[in-house]
Amino acid sequence: MFTGGGARGTVISTASTVGVLAIFVLIFVLAPGARTVAHAFFYGRDMWQSFIGDPRKGYYSVGAAIWLNIRMFLAAEVLILPFALVIALIRQSTHPALFPIRVIATVYVDFFRGVPLLLVVVALGLGVPGLYLPVISHQPDAVYGVAALVITYSAYVSEVYRAGLNSVHRSQVAAARSLGLTQRTALRYVILRQAVRNIIPPLLNDFIALQKDTSLVGVLGVIEANQAASIYASTVFNYSSFTVAAILFLILTIPLARFTDRLIERDRRRRLAGVAA
């Protein structure tokens, strides 16, 4: 995928990859503290035990906890996509009557892109229950975590949408409107379709970051993968549980990254189909 030059190219790239890897491994192995670090982070027995967990010994399964990360990620993503679009459309609107909400949307985006996500998680997770509101203050901690993710990431994603909307040339609007399409229909079938196509890579990039950031919800005491690993580490005094969490996050994010590449490639090929033939 990243190589050019046919069979010869493959041989060269493989050899250089092996060489570079060997250098890294060598540096690690030759370091004075290599044995200690290897034991603390890559100890097979601890990795397995933290993966399966043992409540009787006071620690949770990292492997089971990752499911909570996945669920939080999916819930957040489903909410972020439409919410961020609404924010972007408000910011793109030009009608004078919408000026106040345009200002609110701008302040919102500036604020939540500037405040660290961790602070938003803490503020919602500890603040909202303290309000003693009916229903709203009596949700599981994971819900406040997801809310914090949605609020913060929508600010970022709305900017991605905005870039996408701006990437569609104004003449496309003119062409659509000149055919009698209403503003709404033109937006839906002509502008948004092209905008979304243009922003799939940065959008999925944000979602890869979102998958990892679900671990921040752990500060509320929610047993997600990172929190489960942390509990294991402080119970057994071995950090291999964090390595397990890292591997699990990688297993989640790498397919998404490859999927992104495939989508882009498929789109490119479909549009150029037959040109080379």
Binding site: S171, Q172, A174, A175, A176, R177, S178, L179, G180, L181, T182, T185, Y189, V190, R193, Q194, R197, R270, R271, L272, A273, G274, V275
Partner: protein, 249 residues
């Protein structure tokens, strides 16, 4: 010349401090072909965009088929349905096939069933020699093919008239003829058309009337035989002389 199709009265339009149209008066009959000529920046494109309500006007009045379309409470979408406009830069929808480009507006605006819209679109594509391109995406087509698809897309809405905005200006010279042929066919089929163009030979052949624009005004408005051979105004004469010197007429 009673302006049964389009009647424009004292139309004025500025972009900020730049005055683009300063009092345009023009009447177009049904089945009439009017060509607008003049240097770039003389206001031809803006005039067409105003008629299609793509640009809000500053003052004046535009009447379309007896209805004042510049009135306050007019449904712009309803007006635009009756006018097909084709742009210099084609502006096809790049994410849709040729067929979908043509059927989008009929299905979404006229609410035609998809099958009916497609049958109608295919008939039009076939008429202009584009039937085999139905499933291609625009960026696979030549400029001439794209512009013909753009014309078909506008025709699919069954407009009462067509506005053509320098539709051959962005084309390679060898592709101009196929687009002009299409327009010629529309003219002989009786389509009302207002055509902004730099193709003087074409204007001379196809137009019933030619209007010469300069600095946002119609300086001269006459049948092509008269305007091209015996222009009355000095500015028209100067413009045509430059065109002849450039061997474009």
């Amino acid at each position: 010349m009673n302006g049964g199709a389009i009647r424009i009265e004292e139309l004025r339009k500025s972009f900020g401090p730049t005055v683009v149209l300063q009092g345009i008066n023009l009447a177009v009959d049904s089945h009439e072909v009017v060509c607008l000529i003049g240097a770039s920046g003389s206001g031809k494109s803006t005039l067409l965009r105003c008629v299609n309500l793509l640009e809000p006007i500053d003052s004046g009045k535009i009447t379309l088929l007896g209805q004042e379309i510049t009135a306050q409470n007019i449904d712009q979408n309803l007006v635009r349905r009756q006018i097909g406009i084709v742009f210099q830069s084609f502006n096809l929808f790049p994410h849709m096939t040729v067929l979908r480009n043509v059927t989008l507006a009929p299905t979404k605006v006229l609410k035609l069933p998809r099958a009916e819209a497609e049958a109608q679109a295919l008939a039009l594509l076939d008429r202009f020699g584009l039937a085999d391109k139905r499933d291609d995406y625009p960026d696979r087509l030549s400029g001439g093919q794209q512009q013909r698809v753009a014309i078909v897309r506008a025709l699919a809405m069954q407009p009462q008239m067509m506005l053509l905005d320098e539709v051959t200006s962005a084309l390679d010279p060898e592709l101009v003829a196929e687009v002009l042929d299409v327009i010629g066919e529309l003219a002989s089929a009786g389509m009302t058309m207002v055509i902004a163009t730099h193709e003087m030979g074409f204007a001379r052949d196809i137009a019933h009337r030619v209007c010469f624009l300069s600095e946002g005004r119609i300086i001269e408005d006459a049948p092509p035989a008269e305007l091209f051979t015996d222009p009355k105004d000095e500015r028209t004469r100067r413009f045509l002389r430059r065109i002849v010197e450039a061997k474009r007429l």
